[in-house]
Symmetry: C2
Subunit: 477 residues, 2 copies
């Protein structure tokens, strides 16, 4: 591979993206008075979500929108403008960007569609050139907007009540961005950022990786992509950034037919999936197989630190669930610890005589929340254990919400020494219990396989980091 | 393989199981006055769930429980007793079964634990011999009970509000039975039966298959197992029954380590997973990889008929979701139909000019519920299409609940000519919309992969049936 991008280059990219995601002032060019129109919804989302900076609507045919003074042109705004959101028909976009340039705007997000995705490749190239002429970076076109939690910026036409968290979500598909905003709200998943990339005419995944690498609000980066335009640039960024923060990629267009569909959707040359797969592995990128898995992993990375050593222990009250988790561990490359005799003796105190101290540790259906708490404390404190997977099948004996408090105590009072993922199998009360855990930053899932897969993702990343560090300190390098 | 079981044998097994699942009268031996005790909870579940027959509590130390007269012994009950639920300490079980035999009870369900699973193999053998001496069949021991919807029988100590439906659920793990009862309630999945098999000392999966084959209330059979004791018997039953009804098996203990865990849990000799896998394939059994997948498939079979021909069409409003579904189709062996020109012209009417009539049919983010309805009507009516996968990414344009009504109209007014599975990606409103679909027997899922996997299960079973029929009518046989 050729030389790494220079520090200066990276610093510059980060600065440019900062104007896009963290502007002090925004102009909404094409703001509309009509509810339901995209130019109205975006402005309303910005205002009502509680943007901490200033927002200026631009529309030559309106004096006031949502109680705010409206400007004929971005040039009329009596303030510096860091970022402009452009929501006007495609044929007027170039002129608007020209004016932004003259105004000294630093970055533009072009919501408008009708460019490369409908064959207007020349027009798309022209708006990028116009932006670059004035030193502006351009996001889009054909996007649903951007969201950035630290300044409460929701400049999208998606749902308003996005949960604040520390997962940065970058997506090539706008429809998925909006649909998944709703999905994350429902599943209590918090986001630090959402960036809809659209046609990626200028800003792409690679640029954003450098921004999120240094972003204190982001712990994990999740990317939905169908293809990359500049593979070399993207994987260089991955190689660097994944040493700092986990990057989860959901790459669609894996199959032959899927690649054709991707090319018809975003014009992505999906390329050979084998090559992508190899490049992901080499650069430490964690590849998820579907939306569910991607967010399951992201939830884990957002909540807990990766493991420091091998050796997982499964703690369960249901033998069947324990067997399923064991299968999943083997299939996901997780090593179950052989429980040494002294440790087995400790676990034996947490169960009736017919329990099992072989891994999975089976506390049996008689396990109370106290017994879970004891067992998890033991597992947290024992240095030979690297990670804990706790599984609970709903019984009449133990209330899931009470159990969640017990697990939380065990985890926090021992100092969160190692990662733990949890699975509750059951009905509504179990979902309430899992909510309590997730809010306490203990990732919880409704199936054993999900809890195992999340733990496995933590291990995969931890092993990558360890290997890279070893390579760097070895005499050869 | 040796000879098929005779018709007489099967008829006899069905009759025996009928006494267990569909008794007119039940004795609860070990009924208790103390809430929280298993002997109390089971009796209460039987009464409060609305059992259509008669129930008699048996307890020598009580005169009345839950307002019902209590009997000292099953022999004192002034009525015929079809089935007895036994909830007393292990050492008294044999004597109770002896009395059941004398009373003329037809089947016993032994909830009590403390037999084979704790090494008391001799005692377990004895209770079975005692039951057989009187011509009774025995379920268990070490179970959580049985549920059978047609007579509103909930003789379990699990949740009371199980949803009536047509999935029969057989499980070796009692903890999973109870946990998954709650889970099915939460996910609006209806069950015709739940049978906890426990130690399988007598009645096993094979016996139950024959019962559910002829059970008009059951459309699909779902089995959780860690191993079978009599593989020959089980797979003979599978071979026969899977020609009539789909059998979904979740077989844990796939991995080496999982098999060891299974053996420590239920004493199952898990056997080589490769052999199981081959036997499942040969007998048409659909093997699910986890709980989620098993119930996703069961929901589909419970709701809709399998496809009559190959050729699936994906209808979507989001290109990205379409690509993901396409990947999943290829990975699940589903053939996407190449859309012929005349059909493409029809679909073109349902979309703006930048939509796509290549499969996936992309109605674009502008798709309204009317456009979905039109497109699904077209797909339902076209004879070249075998199955439909409809995907919706939440947009501001279309309300998911309204969309569900539109889809339901399109499906029902065209006569439900072929299977359709649906995926809604989004937040709470999407879940409401999916609920409407599921209640209308149109299976709906929150991810494209699940909708595809369910359709693929329908196809797998349909292909098995077709192949078997062809083999039977070919000159060779």
């Amino acid at each position: 591979m050729d030389a790494e991008p220079s520090k200066n280059h990276i610093r510059n990219v980060v600065k440019q993206i900062s104007f896009l995601l963290s502007p002090r002032t925004i102009a909404v060019i094409g703001a509309s008075r009509t509810p339901g129109k995209i130019g109205h919804e975006i402005l309303r989302n910005i205002v009502e979500y509680g943007f901490k900076g200033k927002v200026y609507p631009v529309n030559p045919n309106a004096d006031e929108i949502l109680g705010m003074k409206c400007y004929k042109s971005v040039l009329d705004i009596p303030d510096e403008v860091d970022m402009a959101v452009v929501v006007i028909p495609a044929q007027f976009v170039k002129e608007a960007i020209e004016q932004c340039g003259k105004k000294g705007v630093k970055a533009v997000a072009v919501i408008s569609s009708g460019f490369g995705e409908v064959g207007k490749v020349k027009e798309e190239k022209e708006i990028v050139e116009t932006a670059h002429k004035y030193g502006m970076r351009l996001l889009g076109p054909n996007i649903v907007g951007v969201y950035y939690a630290p300044i409460m910026l929701n400049a999208t036409f998606g749902p308003r009540d996005v949960r604040v968290g520390n997962i940065a979500f970058i997506t090539q598909s706008g429809a998925l961005a909006i649909a998944l905003m709703g999905w994350t709200i429902l599943h209590d998943i918090g986001l630090s950022a959402i960036v809809s990339l659209g046609n990626k005419a200028d800003i792409d995944d690679g640029d954003l990786l450098y921004f999120f690498e240094q972003d204190r609000n982001t712990r994990v980066i999740l990317i939905y992509m169908e293809g990359v335009k500049d593979g070399r640039k993207f994987f260089k960024a991955c190689k660097r950034v994944s040493l700092e923060k986990p990057i989860i990629v959901l790459k669609a267009g894996r199959s032959e037919r899927g690649a054709i569909a991707a090319s018809s959707h975003t014009g992505s040359l999906a390329g050979s999936d084998i090559i992508y797969d190899a490049a992901f592995k080499q650069t430490g990128v964690l590849r998820a197989k579907d939306i569910q898995e991607a967010f399951d992993w992201a939830r884990a990375f957002a909540s807990i630190d990766p493991p420091k050593r091998e050796g997982v222990v499964i703690i369960t009250n249901g033998g069947g669930a324990g067997v399923m988790a064991t299968d999943a561990c083997e299939e996901n490359g997780l090593k179950l610890l052989e429980i040494p005799e002294d440790l087995a003796r400790k676990f034996r105190e947490c169960m009736p005589p017919f329990g099992s101290t072989k891994n999975p540790i089976d506390l049996t259906g008689q396990a109370t929340d106290e017994k879970y708490e004891e067992a998890i404390r033991i597992a947290m404190m024992d240095e030979r254990i690297g990670g804990i997977i706790a599984i609970y099948c709903h019984t009449a004996i133990t209330d899931p919400v009470k159990l969640s408090h017990a697990i939380t105590r065990a985890v926090y009072e021992t100092g969160r020494l190692k990662p733990i993922t949890v699975c509750y199998i059951g009905g509504e009360r179990c979902y309430k219990g899992m909510k309590v855990l997730n809010e306490a930053n203990i990732p919880a899932y409704p199936t054993p396989e999900q809890a195992v897969s999340a733990m496995a993702a933590l291990y995969k990343w931890a092993r990558f980091i360890k290997k890279e560090k070893a390579a760097k300190t070895s005499p050869k390098s």
